[in-house]
């Protein structure tokens, strides 16, 4: 069934494009001109995001390279091992809300070290796939429209991440453990 799902997922995108184009032609929309009109916004929007993304990348990069993250892992390890969280997975838990590429890197590294079908490999892929980069999304989405006060968004996002991690660890130890 899973492979069927993956197959469906591969077909959805081209199919969606086909429907959009055929419907536009049927409605006599000048497809190419309309495409260009919408696409024009892309560059400006991306450039507007640069300062926010630079800020986050630099802060997260500093946190990782200074050893502050290792310190955080050192502190969290004994706490989390009480709850049966494997120590190898902790860097991923800390990195996941902060940086998408970095957490993907950790997941790949864990899969290479323990094997993708080991418990750690499966848990890492579950965790990486089940949540998004909270900090990046909140910064970029709000920045794009000039919101300066994110209010409780970050708290909600991090709480949801924590819940997702717990759920991932629970379900993986049940299914694969």
């Amino acid at each position: 069934m899973y492979t069927a799902l993956v197959k469906i997922s591969e077909c959805i995108l081209p199919l969606f494009l086909l429907v959009v184009f055929l419907h536009a032609v049927y409605k006599r929309v000048p497809v190419y001109d309309t495409f260009v009109e919408g696409a024009k916004e892309g560059f400006g929007l991306a450039v507007k995001l640069i300062p926010y993304v630079v800020g986050i990348y630099v802060a997260v990069g500093m946190f990782r390279d200074s050893g502050a993250m290792d310190a955080a892992i050192f502190v969290l390890k004994p706490l989390l091992s009480i709850a049966d969280v494997p120590g190898e997975i902790i860097p991923l838990l800390i990195t996941r809300p902060l940086s998408g590429p970095a957490s993907l890197g950790i997941t790949v590294e864990l899969m290479n070290r323990f094997g993708p079908d080991s418990f750690i490999g499966r848990l890492a892929s579950t965790i990486d796939g089940s949540t998004d980069t909270t900090l990046y999304i909140i910064a970029v989405y709000f920045a794009s429209v000039g919101i300066r006060k994110a209010r409780y968004s970050l708290a909600v996002g991090l709480l949801a991440d924590a819940a997702g991690f717990c759920a991932a660890i629970y379900v993986c130890s049940r299914v694969f453990g």
Partner: protein
């Protein structure tokens, strides 16, 4: 956001001062800054493409038609958005993109949704609908995690897609917690009289 930013930077500087690694930190800062711009530039192509396609679907009326059918579900989560508002369409597209694992299409539609939500908001404070949208977005229900499956296959997994079930469970839990927490904070803020 402010507190997180300050915490990350200050704790990093303090730790690397103690460990005598300030030089490494200076290099890291320059590297990360360049990396950030590269990331944004890497986004330009896909952003441009999807904004163009979204415009076609918008002009032809396809987006509005789909929104009309599905808006009762979306409006359950976003009661403050008026019926038939274009924000609902963009939110719908963003959620579908996340659901099927097209992360690259999710961002353009997400940003489009924010633009429409800001037209209803007109303030520098995030609106309730925006907070809910972000809550749903950061916890993102996913059925088909294409990137992870590809990585697992690449690492030589015997069954790359076997994590779909566990992942779906985790993402449903985190989304339920996100929606609940969002509702809870919303009420707290209203009672507290803060904006």
């Amino acid at each position: 956001m402010n507190a997180v930013f300050v915490f990350l930077v200050v704790s990093s500087i303090l730790i690397s001062t103690i460990s005598g690694n300030l030089n490494g930190l200076t290099q890291s800062v320059a590297l990360s800054a360049a990396e950030a711009v590269e990331r944004v530039f890497g986004l330009i192509g896909i952003l441009t493409l999807w904004l163009g396609i979204a415009k076609i679907a918008e002009r032809s009326g396809l987006l509005a038609a789909v929104t009309r059918i599905l808006q009762p579900f979306v409006r359950l989560l976003f009661p403050s958005i008026p019926r038939g508002h274009p924000a609902l369409g963009a939110i719908l597209m963003n959620m579908s993109a996340n659901l099927f694992g097209f992360g690259s299409a999710a961002t353009p539609f997400g940003l489009k949704a924010m633009k429409h939500l800001q037209q209803l908001n007109r303030s520098e404070y995030a609106s309730e609908a925006m907070c809910t949208f972000l809550a749903v977005n950061t916890s993102s229900v996913t059925i088909i995690p294409s990137t992870i499956i590809a990585l697992r296959a690449n690492a030589g997994s015997a069954n790359p897609s076997e994590i779909i079930g566990t992942m779906f469970f985790a993402t449903v839990v985190s989304t339920i917690v996100a929606i609940t927490a969002d509702g809870f904070f919303r009420l707290c803020f209203r009672k507290g009289g803060k904006i």
